[in-house]
């Protein structure tokens, strides 16, 4: 059956589109590099920025992937859980900045910001799961998805109502400002280093948690088969809640890191990073935590280097505006040509 269909006209169309895009990328990159407008230092800066941004994506993507692995649903509201952590973290950060605590005990202050953000996100995720998702186990497939979309907008505009519409500037934390010189002209921003290291530590602890703890094992069992897991004496509902908590705390932490980097807090800040993180999760193979990490990092770098590398040489003005287009196009291309992602074993076609 599948082999008969293999060369249908739609496939040919997609192959042509894919080949054209690939060709454009190659030509664009060659031209950009030939023109030599950018120095190696600039490329290095872009790459490090991409790595930092990618770490944040990876942290958010883990939340999508963990929940998807267990519930087979895209938790659309995950981007708002990310936003909520960033918001509450902001309030703690500003108040500590105002009374000077953050200058005196920067490390303790930063830990406090993280704790607040992670707790907020986790609580919100538990409430969300309890009210919106749990009653819908076993409902037709569009129902939980629509609920998640509704919940996403509800949360976004609730935050808008509660905390106002204005963009708020995140306080600057002196402790993590400035750059560390490396060899030659190369240097690395302290903030980016902090983001990369923090994300790496969290991802490592998550990997440990999922692999070696009892809850982690139970999570893997539930994602394998809910009914059999329940027969083995695993409380499935409890494990689902814990998965939400885990994913949400990572998202909360990602919210803080994101704020450190971009220093702005708004009620709609979750949308685009959420979408990117989803792309990252798909890129790595959804339902697969290491894949999400890898996908996040790859997407971050791709998105940071991509516009300049591919588009500048083609003579497109202001290529940076099109970075989201590049990311979304990549999402579509992956889903078409390799729906399992880089590391994934789950087919979007059969399980979605």
């Amino acid at each position: 059956m599948q082999s008969l269909k293999r060369f249908s006209w739609t496939d040919i169309f997609m192959w042509i589109v894919g080949a054209t895009l690939l060709l454009l990328i190659v030509i664009g990159s060659t031209l950009t590099l030939q023109q030599g407008k950018y120095t190696t230092v600039q490329w290095f800066d872009l790459a490090v920025f991409g790595l930092a941004q990618g770490s944040v994506y990876a942290l958010i993507a883990l939340g999508y992937t963990l929940v998807y692995g267990i519930l087979r649903m895209i938790n659309f509201a995950h981007s708002e859980i990310f936003m909520s952590g960033a918001y509450l973290g902001y309030f703690v950060a500003t108040s500590m900045q105002r009374n000077g605590f953050l200058q005196e005990n920067p490390l303790l202050g930063i830990v406090l910001i993280f704790l607040t953000a992670m707790t907020t996100s986790a609580i919100l995720a538990v409430i969300l799961e309890r009210i919106a998702y749990r009653p819908l186990r076993g409902a037709p497939r569009l129902v939980p998805l629509i609920t998640a979309i509704g919940a996403s907008f509800f949360l976004q505009y609730t935050f808008r109502g509660l905390f106002g519409t204005q963009n708020r500037a995140y306080p600057e934390i002196d402790y993590i400002r400035g750059a560390i010189p490396l060899f030659g002209d190369f240097q690395i921003q302290k903030i980016q280093l902090v983001v990369i290291i923090a994300a790496a530590v969290m991802m490592a602890s998550l990997a440990f948690f999922v692999q070696y703890t009892k809850t982690g094992k139970a999570m893997r069992a539930v994602s394998e088969d809910k009914n059999v897991a329940a027969l083995m004496g695993i409380d499935v509902d409890k494990i689902i809640v814990r998965t939400f908590v885990l994913g949400a705390s990572l998202a909360g932490a990602a919210g803080v890191l994101y704020c450190f980097m971009f220093r702005i807090v708004t009620f709609y800040m979750g949308f685009i990073p959420g979408l990117k993180a989803f792309t990252a999760a798909v890129l790595g193979g959804i339902g697969n935590p290491p894949g999400a990490m890898l996908g996040g990092l790859f997407l971050g770098i791709f998105e940071s280097l991509g516009p300049t590398l591919f588009l500048d040489g083609l003579g497109i003005p202001a290529p940076y505006q099109l970075k989201d287009v590049i990311a979304f196009t990549m999402l579509v291309m992956i889903l078409i040509f390799r729906p399992t992602g880089i590391l994934g074993e789950r087919l979007s076609k059969t399980k979605a």
């Binding site: 249908s8 739609t10 169309f13 997609m14 589109v17 649903m73 895209i74 309030f91 009210i131 919106a132 009653p135 819908l136 409902a139 037709p140 497939r141 569009l142 129902v143 939980p144 998805l145 629509i146 609920t147 979309i149 509704g150 919940a151 996403s152 907008f153 509800f154 949360l155 976004q156 505009y157 609730t158 808008r160 109502g161 509660l162 905390f163 106002g164 949308f271 979408l275 989803f278 792309t279 798909v282 497109i316 003005p317 202001a318 290529p319 505006q321 099109l322 989201d324 287009v325 979304f328 196009t329 999402l331 579509v332 889903l335 078409i336 729906p339 979007s348 076609k349 979605a352």
Partner: protein, 564 residues
């Protein structure tokens, strides 16, 4: 069992607490304050308070339903109301004593004033508690009453609320027609007051209850009489009904005046898009979140083809009627081109990828890259209004007919498609793709046709939008439009054509009329989607097959002919 006859304290208190938290949330997002300017019954009850009291009423109703006997129900609902008021009082107390405004922007002194009925902390709180408890008991009483009377009362209250909200619009409309002002002027508040007058509210309430009870007892008889009539009489009766509706629709803009016609126009554009998305999501079951892309493509095509601004690289300066078919054709092609990549995707993936498409189109429209061709962030200006047989369609009242024509066309097409072979293929595909394929349905063609038809309707809507506004900006085509349209078809009932109209009137029309509402539009839509999916996933006017799917345990309903 003895436990079954015991008073259920836990539920009563729990529901009171939940209601209290909802009340606090409603107050803190600013709804109570901004809705407070609009009275439902002049001088007596405002929209803001109505929302709080409605929360109590509903919570108390559920609280009553958990009790074993009627007297217990009344007590429990009273307790629920009381707990609610305690939570609200705590909020008032906190606002008074702490400076919450630093963080929660809506915890203002004004909110405190509203919560305490302008009586200050101790006295106002007592009245808050008394009122909430009374409303709690009323909620319980509503539970005890027989279903028929309960329905009549809720309908009466709903009608009072509706007329109260619409008061200023009704007044303006009446004033513009000149007649009848004194005839029903007594119903409404005097001077600057808004809402119904107290007498007006009582009369409306009484009339609705009376009418509803009368209809309830007589409807079976009337229906029986109609079905006893010979088929050709029934047919002519139905044609008469359609004729009447058509007459009203055609005559509407003359009655409504400028502002209301504009509201109807906006609603019409949303209904047009809704009809298209209904085909994609409702019939074919493909959750498309990038639907706004086609709206944008339609608007931009017409903009580029007809604009007289001279700022774009190529000036076509076509006539609207030439541009219209081209625009729809391009939308159909776009529907196919964006449909091909997602042919193999299902459910969640489809949603995200289409969402990505919507964003790609918007970002491209906004970018400097395409600025010479489609105007970038400055958009396209100076799109001339269409000219129909010498009449320039530049006023809401004249554009209205263009929109109505579009809606009727879309209605006709989607109704015929629904009952066609293609429509049945869509529904088969919605239920199970693999089985549909095994039955010999060509999935590729069927899916692409769904995307293309949906895109055509959306493109038509966008085309009309472009000539209606005369200018288009990329910002008019945000994701929120897709979500709005999705909400309206879900609220109306996925796959149900009359549902699109109901949803459009509720979700696109109402917010245009109630300006304060606009700010909370997406908040309420979001909540509505979540609640609908749990309580009534098939929508307010469900399609028959969907209804059965969601209530599989219920006995099979006899297929009733769907009204349209």
């Amino acid at each position: 069992m003895s436990t079954q006859n015991r008073f259920n304290w836990q539920k009563a208190i729990q529901l009171g607490g939940i209601a209290g938290l909802i009340g606090v949330l409603i107050a803190l997002v600013g709804m109570v304050e901004s809705f407070d300017h609009r009275d439902i019954v002049a001088g007596a009850i405002s929209m803001g308070w109505t929302m709080l009291l409605l929360t109590v009423l509903v919570a108390a109703y559920f609280s009553a339903s958990h009790q074993p006997s009627k007297s217990f129900s009344l007590v429990a609902s009273g307790i629920t109301g009381f707990i609610f008021s305690l939570v609200m009082s705590l909020l008032a107390f906190l606002i008074e004593n702490l400076d919450l405004r630093q963080i929660l922007v809506n915890a203002s002194p004004n909110l405190l004033k509203i919560l305490t009925l302008e009586n200050g902390i101790p006295n106002g709180l007592i009245s808050l508690i008394v009122i909430s408890t009374i409303f709690g008991i009323l909620g319980g009483a509503l539970y005890i009453l027989p279903a028929k009377i309960r329905k009549a009362i809720s309908l009466g209250l709903g009608m009072v609320a509706f007329l109260g909200l619409m008061e200023d619009i009704i007044q303006v409309t009446i004033a513009s027609t000149g007649s009848g002002n004194s005839a029903i002027g007594w119903m409404f508040g005097r001077g600057t007051q808004s809402g119904l007058s107290i007498i007006g509210a009582i009369v409306v309430f009484g009339v609705v209850i009376g009418g509803n009870l009368l209809w309830g007892t007589n409807a079976p008889k009337i229906n029986a009489q109609v079905s006893k009539m010979p088929p050709n009489r029934q047919r002519s009766l139905r044609i008469l009904g359609y004729g009447l509706i058509l007459l009203v629709v055609l005559y509407l803009p003359v009655v409504l005046g400028l502002y209301l016609t504009e509201v109807v126009n906006v609603t019409g554009l949303f209904i047009l898009m809704g009809l298209g998305l209904n085909i994609v999501v409702g019939f074919a079951g493909l959750l498309d979140l990038g639907y706004v892309a086609f709206y944008a493509i339609g608007a931009y095509t017409v903009g580029v083809l007809t604009s007289l601004s001279g700022q774009l690289s190529t000036a076509f300066e076509w006539n609207f009627w030439w541009a219209l078919p081209v625009s729809i054709f391009i939308c159909v092609m776009a529907g196919v081109v964006l449909g091909i990549p997602v042919l193999n995707m299902r459910g969640d993936y489809l949603a995200i990828v289409t969402l990505g498409f919507g964003e790609i189109i918007r970002i491209l429209a906004l970018s400097d890259f395409l600025k010479p061709h489609i105007g970038g962030s400055q958009g396209i200006v100076n799109i001339p209004p269409p000219d129909f047989l010498g009449v320039l369609l530049n006023k809401p009242q004249t554009l209205y007919y263009l929109i109505v024509a579009g809606c009727i066309l879309a209605l006709f097409v989607s109704q015929r498609l629904r009952d066609s072979r293609l429509g049945r293929s869509w529904k088969a595909m919605r239920e199970d793709e693999d089985v549909a394929q095994a039955m010999g349905i060509n999935l590729v063609a069927t899916k692409l046709l769904a995307f293309a038809t949906g895109a055509a309707f959306s493109g038509l809507s966008g085309t009309i939008l472009a000539v209606k506004l005369g200018t288009i900006y990329p910002h008019s085509f945000a994701l929120l439009i897709s979500i709005n349209v999705l909400s309206l078809i879900i609220v109306g009932g996925m796959g149900s054509i009359p549902g699109v109209f109901i949803g459009g009137l509720l979700l696109a029309g109402m917010p245009e009329l109630l300006r304060e509402f606009a700010e909370y539009r997406l908040l309420i839509y979001g909540a509505l989607l979540v609640v609908m999916m749990q309580v009534r996933p098939e929508g307010f006017w469900p399609e028959e097959t969907h209804k059965r799917e969601f209530h599989e345990d219920a006995p099979d309903v006899t297929p009733v002919q769907e009204a349209a």
